[in-house]
């Protein structure tokens, strides 16, 4: 197993008290595998990624528990110095907004080359040649000339390619892409995702794709982990999850996607708001918004049950719902508020 996150907990000290951003997240990523981490803003998906990368702002952030095993080592036990040599070389991150993630006063060639200077101790000249090679790899036309350009001289899609090239520079084993296509328009999104997927196959890397876009996930991911209020609420192979979700929250998300055959009808929305991280409801954190909620949901935190029975079940499926079987069997596990007949 390439990466194993076990019971990770992260808190932030805020003015309104302690915000529990991540409350016991478990997930694994294998080499060559794409795990999509899905969730709303504030569900803890980015914070988990930052904790894995070791770029959490401490303080106010604080990792209060769990372990992050990367190729067998617990990253949380490494010294900052060792941690830094892992970052970039063995795991890399692609950020959401490529324009703001590239240094505006350095040419892209300098920034790409920096990877080789920092980690490999190359000369600037060799590093530049490597930068051109990388830009070719991510299919930037006329790389030899454009290597001297500044980030603002590139289009959005091109900039994201450069970010991808930077992340790929040292051929890491794991890439975390934090909403890599959110800032791009739809046609460019597809190109960038295809490129990322292709390079991942080529290098046999593990990829954690953080997104809130279910459409992006369907094409590239192998497995999905759905997060809510800092917990994984459901995990499943991507097609199983789309076919039959085993958690009412996932069901709600899927039903919220606009669809052509729903033309003219009101779009479904999950009722209520995500909970404040400073006051996560007791029991199942989704219960105030859940159409299936029973008394037990208000008191008992559901563990991640293995989904081993019922239709579309299988190994590797899990759901943090006390009534996952009902949800799995009854495709309308969202109660009376539903607008479908």
């Amino acid at each position: 197993m390439l990466l194993e996150v076990r019971d990770l907990r992260v808190e932030f000290a805020t003015r309104d008290g302690v915000a529990q951003a991540v409350n016991g997240v478990d997930y694994t990523v294998d080499a060559g595998e794409t795990l999509a981490v899905l969730g709303e803003s504030g569900s803890g998906k980015s914070v988990t990624a930052q904790a894995i990368m070791g770029i959490l702002d401490v303080p106010p952030g604080r990792i209060t528990g769990g372990e992050i095993l990367f190729k067998g080592r617990d990253l949380l036990k490494l010294k900052e110095e060792q941690r830094r040599s892992v970052r970039g070389a063995e795991m890399a991150m692609i950020f959401q907004d490529a324009l703001s993630s590239l240094n505006p006063v350095l040419t892209v060639g300098d920034q790409l080359g920096e990877m080789f200077v920092v980690h490999r101790g190359m000369s600037r000249k060799d590093a530049r040649a490597k930068a051109v090679e990388l830009m070719d790899r991510v299919r930037i036309p006329a790389a030899g000339q454009r290597v001297r350009d500044y980030p603002h001289q590139f289009s959005g899609g091109m900039r994201q390619r450069i970010m991808i090239a930077m992340a790929l520079a040292l051929e890491p084993d794991l890439i975390i892409a934090d909403e890599p296509t959110t800032a791009l328009d739809v046609t460019v999104q597809a190109q960038v995702m295809d490129l990322l997927a292709e390079l991942q196959r080529e290098y046999d890397m593990g990829l954690i794709l953080i997104t809130h876009d279910l459409g992006v996930v369907a094409d590239v991911a192998d497995r999905i982990a759905v997060m809510y209020a800092g917990r994984i609420v459901e995990t499943a192979p991507v097609h199983d999850l789309y076919k039959a979700p085993a958690h009412p929250y996932t069901r709600g998300l899927l039903d919220s996607i606009p669809r052509l055959d729903h033309k003219g009808r009101e779009l479904y929305a999950i009722k209520g708001l995500p909970p404040s991280l400073t006051a996560i409801p007791p029991g199942c954190p989704f219960h105030p918004r859940c159409p299936m909620a029973q008394d037990v949901c208000r008191t008992d935190v559901p563990p991640l049950y293995a989904v081993d029975r019922g239709p579309v079940s299988g190994p590797g499926r899990g759901s943090a719902c006390h009534f996952w079987l009902d949800c799995l069997e009854d495709s309308a596990c969202r109660g009376p508020a539903s607008d479908t007949p």
Binding site: R87, G88, F95, N103, Q145, R146, R148, Y150, F154, G157
Partner: protein
Amino acid sequence: MPDVRRTNPGPDPESGDRRPGEHPPGDRPPGEHPPGDRPRGDWPDGGPDAEDGAVAGTGFGGSMDLATNEGRTLEDDPGPDGGGPSGRPRSLWSDAWRDLRRNPVFLVSALLILFLALIAMWPSLLTSGDPLDCDLALAQEGSRPGHPFGFNGQGCDVYTRTVYGARTSVTVGVCATLGVALLGGVLGALAGFFGGLWDALLSRLTDVFFAIPVVLGGLVLLSVVTSNSVWPVIGFMVLLGWPQISRISRGSVITAKQHDYVQAARALGASGPRMLLRHIAPNAIAPVIVVATIALGTYIALEATLSYLGVGLKPPTVSWGIDISSASPYIRNAPHMLLWPAGALAVTVLAFIMLGDAVRDALDPKLR
């Protein structure tokens, strides 16, 4: 040289003025681009190389090609200094320098400052007289051949004194600015980058210094100094001036620190000093340079102010401030005694402030 990047009509992949015969695609490996053989007219369509690369290399067509071409038209304007595609890589500074050379405000102020520096170093280039060679019989006399600016209250030649006064003013201005920029810039950057206790301490300390009125502080501190050199004045300016720069430096480092690219550099394995020096400092230094350049003018004026008040430089040092001070009682009888040194002071301060302005525009990558 025309500014191609701004006057270009924009990318147009279908532009009819392409001359495909001139550079048949494929006669040159992509990625290599010999300088000088590309006619200007080819730029709007991105040139045959870009076209070739975009279509053959990506096959994305449409929007991607457009984006590529846009990038190409924005690309470097090959200047004679070797900043072109085949030259050595451009940096922020070479770009800024190219912008500056075309800015008339910069040219005028730079010429003035150059001239000032020249006469500060070799005043004898412009005058053969001695600023301390005075004849009381000529006191307050007006202009006459050989003495274009007339004489001051002690019968000294105003022209010679004005020329010699430049040295003191420039020395004080430059040294005070360097001291302030180094001390304030470094302290502020460290405080901004590391934050915490060190930052809190420094911030309170700057508050204390901000609370000291400059002129009052000068009157108190410098009145006890008996030295006749410029150093106590420079020292006083650095002492009271560094908090201003430190605050600006701290602020811009904090702003730059929060940028995503610093986080990205961290995520890709950059160390603390590398982040500060390579990613934060170049993005944070521009405001420091600008404020320091403008402050240079004000330090020259401050020297004049302090000398006028009698606590700055003292005779027999020749300085504009001393001359303005000694001429002010006679402004009705002999205005020339005041106007020449005051005019020189005003022009010098203006030149440095204009320079600061031009540098600010050139260092802002977003204005490119």
